[in-house]
């Protein structure tokens, strides 16, 4: 590296990379959540057989989502540790679907209902890649390479300027195990190059399991007395497609060998692909449901932004909002769209600015 790199310039570059990572993690949540919420629950599909249809794929998708949320917290911790300011409610940076990721070099994310095609698309997002030359340059085209690149840049900056000069963030801005509400893995407080690398590698491992050789595992323990390893996102999605669970020991290039994973692709609301705000212009009732969803989504983003910037306690308050988000989304998915062959509406995931939420009953 050239010697004319300044500390300021390097930090700015790292802040930009991590901000990009934060938005990247965030961008996966609306597509995952849309697919998850489009699955019918509690016997709406068949009242004669009223088990919660698709409880298992719902749970698998939920696990991936909460891990993406953990990734956001981990990225925010790294960013805060090096004096950055994580931003989650800047409309210019927020995703609009269809949304290409990694500056157009990665796959394009769509808002679609739960279908095999959509799960295949999710699998592509989490696909592992080991091209070290891509990661060394900024020519990354997978999320894994992007993080490897970020880790390399971070190490280089520390090497050049010294750890102390880079890690200047205040410890109070770190979200720790006492603040982080919920599961998804281990929260890591970042105060050094070492902990920063651990945090970023955790993201990599949960996503694609890349660092664990040829198996499906992601290096995290499944809670409980059995002492088994969890598997990476790529394999979680692949398990849904195969209707079978992976064991952590299953080879990464083979099919899953665990128990049946019951999937019913039919028990899904026929939501229109990639709903956009303009779609509901002629239908004020649907538009108001969508506005309501967007208000909840915006409040959630505002809350996360605050939690990552000095108001840690807000994190716990966001749990009810996430439930409400699901409710609001499912309300839309139950409404048939006029002039379509039975397609239903869906949430548009638009940030509509800071505003106060009304009561949940109207």
């Amino acid at each position: 590296m050239s010697e004319d790199r300044t500390l300021e310039g390097d930090c700015r570059e790292l802040h930009d990379l991590l901000q990009k990572a934060l938005i990247l993690e965030l961008s996966t949540i609306p597509p995952y959540a849309t697919a998850c919420y489009s699955i019918k629950e509690e016997g709406q599909y068949d009242r004669a057989a009223p088990e919660i249809v698709n409880a298992e794929p719902i749970e698998v998708l939920r696990q991936v989502m909460v891990e993406e949320m953990l990734h956001m917290v981990l990225v925010a911790n790294v960013m805060n540790a090096i004096g950055g300011r994580p931003t989650l409610n800047d409309p210019k940076q927020l995703p609009h679907y269809p949304q290409p990721i990694l500056d157009g070099k990665g796959p394009t994310l769509h808002l679609r209902r739960f279908t095999p095609q959509q799960i295949k698309a999710f699998r592509e997002v989490e696909r592992a890649s080991h091209d070290p030359t891509d990661a060394a340059s900024d020519d990354y085209d997978t999320i894994g390479e992007f993080y490897l690149h970020t880790i390399q840049r971070l190490k280089a900056a520390c090497c050049l300027h010294g750890d102390k000069a880079v890690f200047t963030g205040h410890v109070d801005r770190q979200i720790g195990p006492g603040d982080y509400y919920g599961a998804g893995g281990k929260i890591i407080v970042v105060d050094s190059l070492e902990s920063a690398c651990t945090a970023l590698e955790e993201i990599l491992e949960e996503g694609e399991g890349a660092h664990h050789g040829d198996c499906a595992d992601d290096g995290d323990r499944i809670p409980g007395p059995d002492d088994r390893q969890d598997i990476a996102h790529f394999f979680k999605f692949n398990g849904i497609l195969h209707s079978r669970y992976y064991f952590a020991e299953d080879p990464s290039d083979g099919p899953p060998s665990g128990d049946d994973l019951a999937v019913d692709w039919r028990a899904v609301w026929p939501m229109r692909d990639d709903p956009k705000p303009g779609d509901y212009d002629d239908n004020p009732e649907i538009a108001s449901l969508d506005a309501r969803f967007n208000a909840t989504w915006s409040a959630l983003l505002d809350g996360l932004d605050a939690a990552f910037n000095d108001e840690k306690k807000r994190l716990a308050e966001l749990v009810p909002l996430m439930y409400r988000l699901k409710q609001d989304a499912q309300r839309l998915m139950r409404v048939p769209l006029p002039d379509t062959a039975g397609q239903t509406a869906g949430p548009t995931w638009q940030y509509i600015g800071k505003r106060r939420l009304g009561p949940s009953v109207s």
């Binding site: 009223p50 919660i52 696990q63 195990p177 006492g178 599961a183 809670p223 007395p225 002492d227």
Partner: protein
Amino acid sequence: MATPQDDEVSYDVVIVGAGFAGAILAKQLVAEGKSVLILEAGADRGEDWRTYRDYLDQYFLAQAKTPNSPYPNLPTLPSPSVLDITAVHGTQPDTNGYFVQQGPLPFGSNYLRAYGGTSLHWLGTSLRMFPADFEMRTRFGRGVDWPFGYQELRPYYEQAEWEIGVSANAEDQTPEALGIHVSEPDDGKNFFESGYDYPMHPIPDSYVARYIAEAGDGTPVATGVRSGWGGKPEPGLDVVDIKVSNTPQGRNSTPRHGKKIMVAGREREAFEPRGGTGAFAFIGQRCEGNSSCIPICPIQAKYTAMKTLADARANRTGQLQIQTQSIASQVETAENGCVSGLVYKRYPFPGVPQYELRRVRAEHYVLAGGAVENATLALASGLCRSSQELGRNLMDHPYMMTWGLARDPVGPFRGPGSTSGIGSFRDGVFRNEKAAFRLEIGNWGWNFAAGAPYSDVARMVGEENLFGRELRQKLFHRVQRQVRVGILVEQLPEPSNRVTIDPAYRDPMGQYRPVIGYDVSDYSRAGLALAHDACIQLYRRLGVENHTAYNPSDSGYFTHEGKGYTVFGSGHIVGTHRIGIDPKTSVTQPDMRCHDHENLWMVGAGSMPTIATSNPTLTLAAMGFMAAEAINRALQ
């Protein structure tokens, strides 16, 4: 009776019942390398996540979401249900349900015969008893003293709180912090071991609890005449101020990090919450406020005995066998009084009254089927005859409700059934003449009291002809203001409150059904009346419009000093095989070994000589650790 087939394998210990007590014993015995068999009468194994999903489906579909509604209720293996409770008239027993009720009041409590036991539908309240509760006879001339005191039980409480995973702050739970005028001034001393704290931070107080605390704290209630206080005579009224406090709960919250906790003298790392099972292992690490702790936590954030059983099974130091669909039928004894075998009925098809009669042998035998089932089995086997106490001294917390409408929305139907209560009346010199009690601040509106919100919908649609937006708004306005306070009052051990058996009453498997005689004494009635007054005073202070109504046709209706009240059971079934030193007045020794049978142990809430004002689970769990130590010693 057919000849039982002998099991080929024998064990160090056979435990009857896979509930709270049985699970803890199994875990502790297996950890010491013992071989253990648990016989569970229930058919299911909810630890398998598919079975747990089935329970959830049952719950979602159930019309009446009673505590037992998600779980199997086989005609061949009935569990008592709250829907079976009717008034008992005259001398004719009520045989509606599983219990044969002799009255005069119906015994309104239930339990669950399934893998995991009643822990499947408990609320999670994990309260310790107070020092006074162990000395009722000495201090108040009521009931009996325990053979040990609070300080002896304290380290076991710590173990039980760790095992269950209790969420609370120690500093909020001392008698002083609860606002109690303790009956002896030293009671608050060393209530917690210095440096001890609960494994997880408290579950936050519900909005309604904070609403009541804000205006209601400090409401003075005269509990009676105080004759002596700290040795100094101080005549006059003893006035206790109401104080709302957070309730310790066996439900996952945020674990305590960065502080080493000493549990029974052993330093522990941060607690690791245990949630769901199998494919759902990643849910339930924290309580999410699903608002259905009773009857079932959809994410298993609430403790159930299945968690302890899973730990026990994973521990390879010893060996644990769990055999469901096996009803303990007869405890066989040799001439010297020792138990020689346990005969059980193994049924292959749930619901079909067909079984194979088998016998299992072990060094030691433990009855852990709950206070009623333990007594029934022991009586059916002709055990423990030195005292006349087996089956007697049955206690519960008679549960009475008051309810009203607040001026403002108080946000019910969100979060756990109760996060907070009023503990100020859990001890005091008034216990000379009336029972102590605890008030529980309900968090689900008038749900238990009046079937809300369904009953509100029915009334507004059916009687007020409301629909659409107007219906939603009015419903919201009304339901949002619902306040309910539950009263749990202590009972004294009384010989006439008892479980017996009668050959005339058997279940389809040929097992004795529990025949129960039950009443609420004037001592408890006086406590209930005082508690009722305290609620009314609280409502006045808060501006809550009282809607409490007790109907003479209620099954648990009774009168006291000219006023009528209705009580229900609270499922806190205590006292049928109490511990004690004297074999003439107690069934089991202080370590829960039977006086009459050297290798037979009876554990669970049935061991408790008095019930006090705490929900008995934490105490029975603590005593389970105590008994496990004793059995491990006996096996050496």
